[in-house]
């Protein structure tokens, strides 16, 4: 592996990103601005996450990429091969083996450890953006802890639907201070954000923001006394591995419109099947 431009980015860019990561860790949930670089992939492919991964990666790492829980989508495969090529890093699909995991829209089912770093790809880092389009105003709102409007929005959900309808990118409060967007993970994953042994880093490329959760940070999903937060999922076991408590995707399995529910985390599901667990739809 040549030393020059290890992990694609030049050294000055990595230093700038590394400084932003440290400030993000020092103020959990606060969005640190950074000068995002052009990456050789479109924005929708997680350029923020890729830049954060490039800044933390060493040659000793085992790198895993998941896209909505799967290791084998075009997006996941191309990010994995990008770092194999530019950093000579070893890659894996097994959560337990990985030391750096870049993710789009999921947290792995298997508990993370102190030896792991989870890097989230974030499309819209500002949880207040849909309430207030101006960056100058949302910055002010965060500085003054003006989060009342956020609660009003969630409460409108309740009056309209009888429950909080927001099911992805469900806002959280970090250590009682900053309201944070956890990226479009299903709210089923929200409880895993809190008290997590791994370091969690969030990178938004187009919006040029980095934020972080140190290990064991307290993260609370916003809710109301009369409508407490519920980490809901489809009320089925996995059709392939039979597990009752993992997040499921509904997939069409034949031309007749037959459907089944399967784990969104493909590594988790595959490992369970290899251990002999069988769901009702398993061959």
């Amino acid at each position: 592996m040549t030393d020059y431009n290890f992990a694609y980015l030049d050294e000055q860019t990595k230093r700038m990103i590394r400084r932003a990561i440290l400030k993000g860790l020092a103020v959990p949930g606060y969005q640190v601005p950074f000068a995002s670089r052009e990456m050789p992939m479109p924005y929708g492919w997680g350029t923020g996450g890729v830049q954060v991964s490039a800044a933390v990666m060493t040659t000793d790492d085992q790198f895993k990429v998941i896209d909505q829980g799967a290791d084998d989508t075009t997006n996941a495969v191309s990010i994995r091969s990008f770092f194999e090529r530019t950093a000579g890093v070893a890659t894996t699909t097994q959560t337990a083996e990985a030391t750096v995991i870049q993710t789009r829209h999921r947290i792995p089912e298997q508990d993370l450890t102190e030896d792991q770093i989870l890097v989230y790809q974030v499309p819209i880092p500002e949880p207040l953006r849909f309430l207030e389009p101006r960056e100058s105003e949302t910055r002010k709102m965060h500085s003054l802890e003006e989060y009342g409007l956020m609660h009003v929005k969630l409460y409108e959900d309740i009056s309209r639907h009888g429950h909080i309808a927001t099911s992805y990118a469900y806002p959280v409060k970090v250590e009682g201070r900053y309201v944070m967007d956890p990226s479009p993970i299903p709210k089923f994953d929200n409880p895993k954000l809190s008290d997590c042994p791994a370091i969690q880093l969030f990178g938004a490329g187009r919006e040029q923001r980095i934020y972080a959760l140190p290990p064991y940070t307290q993260v609370v999903s916003l809710d109301f006394e009369d409508h407490p937060f519920v980490a809901s999922k489809a009320d089925h076991p996995c059709g392939l591995c039979g597990v009752e408590d993992s997040y499921l995707d509904e997939v069409i399995i034949d031309d007749a419109g037959g459907r089944m529910f399967v784990c969104s985390d493909t590594d988790y599901c595959t490992a369970r099947q290899a251990d002999g667990f069988k769901g009702k739809d398993a061959a």
């Binding site: 592996m1 030393d3 020059y4 431009n5 290890f6 992990a7 050294e11 000055q12 990595k14 230093r15 700038m16 590394r18 400084r19 932003a20 990561i21 440290l22 400030k23 993000g24 860790l25 020092a26 103020v27 959990p28 606060y30 640190v32 601005p33 800044a55 933390v56 990666m57 060493t58 040659t59 000793d60 102190e114 910055r139 002010k140 965060h142 500085s143 003054l144 250590e175 201070r177 900053y178 042994p197 370091i199 972080a212 959760l213 140190p214 290990p215 064991y216 940070t217 307290q218």
Partner: protein
């Protein structure tokens, strides 16, 4: 003399900076833990650990304050050659290097603004000793409690009271380092 001053940088900058950064990040993410960090040999009295932190984080974009005994012509030359960081006073710095006594008073350093708390200084504190005893730490990054030999508990309590504003600290001693972000509660 000249060549000696210019020695001591990373021999494989990208790879060594990547490894060194992981030590710094793990230390900042887990206050109270102590990591080794190697690859740099700055002129005395700067420690190898402090040298590696400077090489990893500093460049022409990061104003640096050299406090007291660390403000020598050898160290200035080494920093100019290896990082290009502009040398400034404490009120304009993004990083500072010195012993705890030389870095005083903390009120001289930028602590960020309410809208940009990240615009605050990080102090690299050279320590005669670094171990997991003394002050008790709680907060983000710490499972239950941690302990660290801080130079002065009261100063860190006052710093933490300004949260989310405040200074962040990296403690260096020989080839080891620990860190204390502003979010840590010290008692």
């Amino acid at each position: 003399m000249q060549t000696q001053t210019l020695d001591g940088g990373f021999t494989q900058p990208a790879l060594q900076a990547a490894t060194a950064f992981r030590s710094v990040m793990e230390a900042m993410a887990r206050p109270g833990t102590i990591r080794t960090i190697t690859g740099a040999a700055p002129p005395a009295p700067a420690s190898p650990a402090a040298g590696a932190v400077l090489l990893t984080l500093c460049d022409t974009e990061t104003p640096l304050y050299l406090a007291g005994a660390c403000d020598t012509s050898d160290i200035r030359t080494w920093i100019a050659f290896h990082t290009g960081a502009p040398l400034v006073g404490p009120s304009a710095c993004q990083f500072a290097l010195g012993s705890w006594a030389d870095l005083m008073p903390l009120s001289d350093y930028p602590i960020g603004t309410s809208e940009y708390p990240d615009r605050s200084a990080t102090l690299i504190v050279e320590m005669p000793d670094l171990n997991q005893s003394g002050a008790t730490l709680t907060g983000p990054g710490i499972k239950d409690t941690a302990m660290l030999s801080l130079p002065d508990a009261a100063a860190f309590q006052a710093n933490g009271a300004q949260y989310p504003l405040g200074l962040d600290f990296i403690f260096t001693c020989a080839d080891r380092l620990a860190a204390l972000p502003r979010s840590t509660e010290v008692c």
